[in-house]
Symmetry: C2
């Protein structure tokens, strides 16, 4: 049997996925899946399968995209070709594009499975989310998996899905969903920490932990998208347009035109953040930037909140994510913690989803553990 | 399409599963699975499907087992009947019996799927483990899922399976796998705690957190079985017969004949435990009883160990389990924490496994989240 995979937007994450698939193709024994990469496309070029590319030489794929044999990118022809292949075929969307997410319904209609870390199809228009759901809810029809949209490879959405589908009642989901904001507040708000807020942001930026403009992290929109996805998977009708989101970019700096100017002026607000922090520490707490899904009271939000020192959120390290599910069956929350960003762990989330599709569609999967 | 479920040993866990399946059968919309309970068997009696029992009146099942229509238990005839049914059929083994686990190969040979919280088939003879694996490794053949053998409903084995199958390298797995020993040491070994060890054991016993004879918890064998399962899923050739297990039952009390006498004499050893605890606390640490899978160095073990106060194991509460996976992709470990024992969460783990089988075998499953 055959399980085909095609990658849209093969950058860092797509590259890590190709590496993992290549290592897998060279592995031995029961565990090996018959996964074949059959296409890559970026905004300019595309490469489609020919006999030269097999699962055994995946490294050729990325160079193929740059070589003379690459064709001009044409998403319609790309999808047409994939839909015509034998076996099950999954498109992996590694972009963060609204325009690509808008194509999912057309792909599903042609029987193509979708796996993606792209949040846009699940946190944007409710109508698109519902359309994607409708088209992937037939038992033998195409599937959509998007584990890596929240917490990268951490088993967050699979766990939430299991809870929901077995009839547990989701009371709340609370978490630190941004690696950037985790790193920032783990360093800034800890007993004994002395660095100013602006210095913490500058350090995070220098280490590559922030967006090019750190305001894209500090405005909370990335967390709002993740809260929206979790809420919708839990059955709530929520969206980023109505969710209360605490934007911690100081008001006067929101209209500043460049990231450089923003960074230059941020120290003007160190006293503001320092006071918030001191107040929290004096109360035996630390500051954490969290997303909160209210499963029962309609009070979902994204905000800077205080947690006591013995709370699991307070002892978080580095840029880890942490997610706590409080449910009827888990009144003491079920907690998942670990790296929630990075190419290797995001690719891991995608690969795990691909395996689930391979299992569901009987593509010759064997159990590796025996 | 039809997905049949039969339960062997329907006690507390089986009862909770039946409750969850009954609630599910009455739920509406996309999420509802076509699961039908078709049989129950205990050590004395059995009830097999007839037209009176449908998914809509699962509560009848348990009384049916006690009523006049119940037949004398006959596992051979039970399995024969199940193997003759249309659609996919899964046996849920809710016993902790070696003898039942030894039947798995015969069930698999007949195409019956298996879901179980029973550790015996996966932590006993390596030959049985391998035979179960061989018979469930064909892509379209029967499947075996046993999430609830470690950490009940916590997504421990599914996560480990995902890591292994996508080619991550398991460096170590470390965890508190016993709810009893978690509760005991969370209370006994904490800054400021004053209760003696024997008083902590007595309190745990009075609250129903221990086995009838607490030595069955303190000897570490339950944890050893879980470490064996995790190690084997990670590809190691380990077993409870060779694993170093620290039995914390004081030597002179191991041969004592009754649980009562053991409890009566345990205070004689309070000073021993108190010294261990004081030494740990003076070093800024607490005592925790842990299982340890060494993925690279062959030093897997079960032991009483010290953890510094800011370690996630030190701040554990109640009787929660916690499991930390350190891998090549997660050098900062991926951590899962929450209730790892109890009927409702164990049934949740079983139900999640049943859904995975239903998905793989195309039994009319729809995605609930849209």
């Amino acid at each position: 049997m055959v399980f085909n995979v095609a990658i849209v937007g093969p950058g860092l994450v797509g590259g890590a996925l190709i590496e993992q698939l290549a290592a897998h193709a060279q592995s031995a024994g029961f565990a090996r899946l018959p996964i074949t990469v059959v296409g890559l496309i970026n905004s300019k070029k595309m490469a489609l399968a020919n006999t030269a590319y097999t699962a055994a030489d995946l490294s050729q794929w990325q160079t193929a995209l740059l070589g003379d044999s690459a064709q001009t990118a044409d998403l319609t022809r790309f999808a047409d070709t994939l839909a015509g292949l034998k076996g099950a075929t999954a498109i992996v969307d590694c972009t963060s594009s609204d325009a690509i997410a808008a194509l999912y319904p057309s792909w599903l209609t042609r029987g193509l499975h979708i796996v993606t870390p792209n949040k846009k199809g699940f946190s944007g228009d409710m109508s698109l989310f519902r359309e994607i759901g409708r088209l992937s809810s037939s038992p033998l029809g195409p599937a959509v998996y998007h584990e890596a949209t929240v917490g990268a490879g951490l088993p967050v959405l699979s766990t939430l899905n299991d809870l929901v589908r077995t009839g547990d009642r989701i009371i709340k989901i609370e978490g630190i969903f941004s690696g950037t904001l985790s790193y920032l507040f783990n360093n800034f708000s800890a007993p004994g920490a002395t660095q100013s807020f602006s210095a913490c942001v500058a350090e995070a930026k220098a280490n590559g932990y922030t967006e090019p403009d750190p305001r894209d992290d500090l405005n909370g929109m990335d967390v709002a998208r993740k809260v929206t996805i979790l809420g919708r998977v839990a059955g709530l009708d929520i969206g980023t347009d109505t969710l209360p989101v605490e934007n911690i970019v100081p008001e006067p700096l929101r209209a500043v035109s460049t990231a450089d100017e923003f960074m230059q002026r941020l120290p003007e607000f160190d006293q503001h953040f320092s006071k918030l922090n001191t107040d929290a520490l004096q109360a035996g707490s630390v500051l954490r930037y969290v997303g909160f899904v209210d499963g029962v009271g309609g009070q979902s939000s994204v905000k800077l909140a205080r947690y006591p020192l013995d709370h699991p959120f307070a002892s978080l390290k580095g840029s880890d994510n942490i997610i706590a599910f409080t449910t009827e069956r888990f009144p003491n929350p079920l907690i998942i913690q670990g790296a929630g960003a990075g190419a290797a762990v995001t690719a891991f989330g995608i690969f795990s989803d691909l395996i689930k599709i391979a299992e569901r569609y009987g593509s010759g999967l064997a159990d590796p553990k025996f």
